[in-house]
């Protein structure tokens, strides 16, 4: 499985994501600079956490219009899997690849802690190593993780089974406690929790590893 990790100047989980991908696939991902207009042939694109261009305006708003995102969108249309973590999720919503928006946390403070998530479905390329209904633990670390969408969109997400992860205890005010969503083709996943930070036992948790291993199973060339 070949992976590309997109690197914006303010990405700060790019290395962490690369380490987790390499641990699961045995293959170091290509690190692709935001100014690139073309991506190498890959099976998975990861948009990592961070503050893409500083995010002083609105998280992910500028990144959505960067040269590399046009290429990410084209690859996604062609069926390449895309995983957006934290700021990567924000970028995907700003770029219109996933619906809704990530607003300021309801408590108005940055939150960094482990949270319990329920796995909503286990029949996707991202979640096949989990069991639907299971509770898994991953850290969150964000200021803007409050998932908001209009009623119609939320109804569609729920009706079509596009919610991938849900908070057991809602930390940030997200609508329907949504922590991560899929596109209708289930080839794009955006989530606020950080699976790459829960992929190594010495760091205190390994529940995130199954996500990368599931992708490795699904996308093995």
């Amino acid at each position: 499985m070949k992976t590309a990790v997109i690197v914006f100047p303010g990405s700060n989980c790019d290395r962490d994501s690369a380490v987790a991908v390499e641990a699961a696939t045995g293959r170091a991902p290509a690190m692709v600079w935001h100014g690139e207009a073309a991506l190498p042939p890959v099976d998975l694109i990861v948009i990592p956490g961070g503050f893409a261009y500083g995010d002083y305006l609105r998280s992910g708003a500028m990144a959505a219009h960067s040269p590399v995102m046009r290429e990410v969108a084209a690859k996604a249309r062609a069926g390449v899997a895309v995983l957006g973590i934290c700021n990567g999720f924000q970028v995907l919503t700003e770029a219109g690849l996933l619906p809704g928006a990530l607003m300021r946390n309801a408590g108005l403070r940055f939150i960094c802690r482990d949270v319990a998530l329920s796995v909503e479905r286990d029949d996707t390329i991202f979640t096949r190593r989990y069991r639907a209904g299971a509770t898994v633990t991953m850290p969150v670390a964000h200021n803007d993780g409050n998932y908001v969408a209009d009623g119609e969109t939320v109804a569609r997400l729920e009706g079509e089974g596009l919610v991938a992860f849900r908070y057991r205890e809602n930390p940030n005010g997200s609508t329907a406690a949504i922590a991560g969503i899929l596109d209708p083709a289930r080839r794009i996943l955006g989530l606020m929790p950080h699976p790459e930070r829960a992929a190594d036992s010495v760091l205190g948790g390994t529940d995130g590893r199954a996500l990368f291993e599931g992708l490795a199973d699904s996308l093995a060339a």
Partner: protein, 723 residues
């Protein structure tokens, strides 16, 4: 030049006379501004330098001691740890968000200037009384400022300390420590060499913010503190992230001869320090300095403290390649001058000479004062009345008090896990960070007990070092070195100078006894408002090494039925304890003595037990005493404990005394621990057993962990929510 203008620049008559002598003429405004900044307390350490020289700074593992941007120690495998602590007290009081944020930005630059990738930040914070009307606003601003900067740049904030005392009502303390990892043979220094080499400015543009910040930081506050807001800088963590990555990218090549960040006193300080260290002159064309606004004069350009800027000296042929790197990261890059053999700093602006000053006389002739000092009388033990005080009620009160309550509200606002190497998160004795890609780790802590220092500066200085050392040992690390942040009031008052001298003496004694040298640090004086000084607060930042992360400890009990062993002597010293202050309401007495031989012996025993795999659960005993330490271990695990008092002990003194040199460990069998202690002549005793859902003191009842945890967790969120 009028006496008023000289006084406004914080120069004494003697200092001005010295400047006249160095120049052989009257200075112009730019030169006066430069001298004022370079000779400020903040930049010149004029009151403390003679005493700082008494501190031990060497050990076989020290690569670079004080005097550079940060200290450097060897951590094996060809790697070095680079670290320093620095205060941003005055700006944080005036504008807490930006003050704290730029404090973090500044200390991170000190670390990556030396070629290290920063891997952790810690913050030692002191605020006024929780009842003071400004305190909540300051806590909120400082915590969001630290988080806003660290979270964005993507370096984990993993530890520190927070305390409250009315003595900080008018002067809070914000001390930030940064730690980085570098290749031991690729450390970068500020020594400018190579006559004719280009001097390059990189990073953000220069604006009118922070002009004369160093001079402000060297004066006491009065009622006009608010009017000083324009001297506070504004931080941009995104630009610093770009600067960090660009610098590290260029440092992987051989382009850089010398590099220095622009911190306090901006371009003035970086240019003069680089020239002075290299024994060269420097000629700068200020028209080439990238500026944010038009019409800036030479005075403003030289004294601006705009953030996220660096000055570099490049090899002659490296300019084009270096420029490409910085342009790719979207940063300004400007050749602004050359090194000369004149021994002078010569500035031109608008085609005219704006300043012409000899480097060495200005830097080396910086004033040094032997200020008069008087010893601090040690307070007598107050009369205390413990009638009707039940130990577990006292514990509940202490665990829910401002100084012992959980700091979760703070550290959950810091991204403490980014970079995916945080092995021990905030809330324990020391944070532990994995050295990326290895199974080794570094342990980090900051410590100081200001009430001890106020009562007996020398004992307090010893205790701050001993506690930092003990916290590292308790985490399973070998303590390597110290960075110190000495925060005091007005050194021109003999009693304040006496506190400074006493604390430095105590720090020196402890650092020598524990082979724990000081490799970097910062002094912040004049922390007083309307003649009221802060408590003497010499914060010690400690760094230790774990050769194998598998041999680390946690403070959380691992299982029920384990034996709890107290290591070190419990004499029941209640002087200056939290119990006296916060439970009985009669603070006072002498602080606990620090027996450095016992401290070392006890610590070496514990480290041997951890390295040998005998001990995996360990916690040091500090404020609140033995029972608070056991309570913290129980709360961290959700496993209760039963403690038995030794026969004949005074229960309250035994449970809450703050005797030094002690650890609590929990093991399935106390035998091997007690045997090893006996063989090392270290006092140790089995004092109880883990289990259940309550904390029990035999003969004194019990308290449920749920209730204790509620008291411990509730204080901070409730305080911040406001009345």
């Amino acid at each position: 030049m009028t006496p008023e203008i000289v006084a406004e620049h914080g120069l004494s008559e003697d200092e001005y006379a010295r400047l006249l002598e160095i120049l052989g003429r009257e200075p112009n405004m730019v030169e006066l501004g430069i001298a004022s900044a370079m000779w400020s307390e903040h930049c010149s350490y004029k009151s403390s330098r003679a005493w700082l020289a008494t501190l031990p700074t060497e050990a076989p593992w020290v690569i670079c001691g004080p005097g550079e941007n940060a200290g450097v120690v060897d951590i094996g495998d060809g790697k070095a740890a680079v670290f320093k602590i620095e205060s941003h007290n005055h700006p944080s009081f005036i504008e807490p968000y930006q003050g704290a944020a730029t404090g973090v930005g500044g200390i991170l630059r000190d670390v990556f200037t030396m070629g290290a990738r920063p891997v952790a930040v810690l913050d030692a914070l002191r605020f006024g009384s929780p009842d003071h009307p400004r305190t909540r606003h300051l806590v909120s601003g400082v915590v969001s400022g630290i988080g806003g900067y660290g979270n964005c740049i993507g370096i984990p904030t993993v530890g520190g300390e927070t305390e409250f005392d009315p003595a900080y009502d008018g002067n809070i303390l914000v001390n930030a420590m940064a730690v980085g990892i570098a290749d031991a043979d690729r450390i970068f220094y500020a020594r400018a060499t190579g006559i004719g080499n280009t001097v390059v400015y990189v990073g953000s543009k220069t604006g009118r913010d922070g002009i004369h910040g160093a001079t402000m930081a060297s004066a006491a506050f009065d009622a006009d503190a608010e009017a000083r807001r324009p001297t506070v800088q504004v931080g941009d963590p995104f630009t610093e992230k770009l600067l960090l990555e660009a610098c590290l990218e260029l440092m992987a090549t051989d382009a850089i001869v010398a590099i220095q960040d622009m911190g306090a006193a901006g371009l003035t300080s970086s240019a003069l320090e680089m020239a002075s260290k290299g024994g060269v002159g420097i000629a700068l064309d200020l028209d080439r300095v990238p500026t944010r606004e038009t019409g800036m004069n030479a005075y403003e350009i030289m004294l601006s403290e705009s953030q996220e800027r660096m000055l570099m000296v490049l090899r002659p042929d490296a300019e084009a390649a270096a420029e490409r790197v910085f342009r790719r990261w979207g940063l300004d890059f400007a050749v602004i001058g050359r090194l000369t053999d004149s021994g002078r700093v010569v500035l031109t602006h608008g085609g005219e000479t704006a300043a012409d000053i000899p480097v060495d006389p200005l830097v080396e002739a910086a004033p040094r004062y032997r200020r008069p000092h008087v010893p601090t009388p040690v307070p007598a033990m107050p009369a205390i009345d413990t009638a009707g005080v039940a130990p577990l009620e006292a514990l509940e009160r202490l665990m829910g008090s401002p100084d012992l309550a959980s700091r979760r509200w703070i550290w959950e606002q810091y991204d403490h896990m980014v970079m995916a190497d945080t092995v021990v998160r905030p809330g324990g004795d020391a944070a532990v960070i994995r050295v990326h890609g290895t199974s080794r780790g570094i342990a980090l802590t900051t410590d100081c007990t200001p009430r001890y220092c106020a009562a007996d500066p020398r004992a307090g200085g010893r205790q701050a070092v001993a506690e930092a050392w003990r916290n590292l040992v308790a985490a399973g690390a070998r303590p390597l070195a110290v960075t110190d942040n000495l925060n005091f009031g007005d050194p021109e008052r003999p009693e304040i100078m006496g506190q400074l001298v006493g604390c430095i003496e105590g720090i020196g004694e402890a650092c020598r006894a524990l082979e724990f040298p000081v490799v970097s640090g910062n002094v912040s004086l004049y922390n007083e408002t309307d003649g009221r000084a802060i408590l003497p607060t010499p914060v010690i930042g400690g760094l230790g090494l774990l050769d194998d992360l598998a041999r680390r400890t946690t403070i959380a009990f691992a299982a029920s039925g384990h034996e709890i062993v107290a290591i070190g002597a419990t004499a029941g010293h209640l002087g200056q304890s939290l119990f006296l202050r916060d439970v009985l309401g009669t603070p006072g007495g002498p602080p606990p003595p620090v027996d450095l031989d016992a401290e070392r012996r006890n610590g070496l025993l514990v480290r041997g037990l951890v390295e040998g795999g005998v001990v995996e659960v360990c916690h040091d005993v500090s404020g609140g005493g033995l029972l608070a330490a056991v309570a913290e271990m129980a709360l961290a695990s959700g496993i209760g404990a039963e403690i038995a008092l030794p026969p004949g002990a005074d229960p309250l003194a035994w449970l809450f005394g703050e005797d030094q040199g002690r650890y609590i460990v929990a093991v399935d069998d106390a035998g091997p621990v007690l045997d090893a202690a006996a063989a090392s002549r270290v006092p140790a005793a089995a004092i109880g057993r883990t289990g259940g859902a309550a904390l029990t003191v035999s003969g004194h009842g019990h308290i449920s962990l749920a209730g204790l945890g509620e008291a411990h967790e509730a204080w901070f969120p409730r305080f911040m929510a406001g009345p």
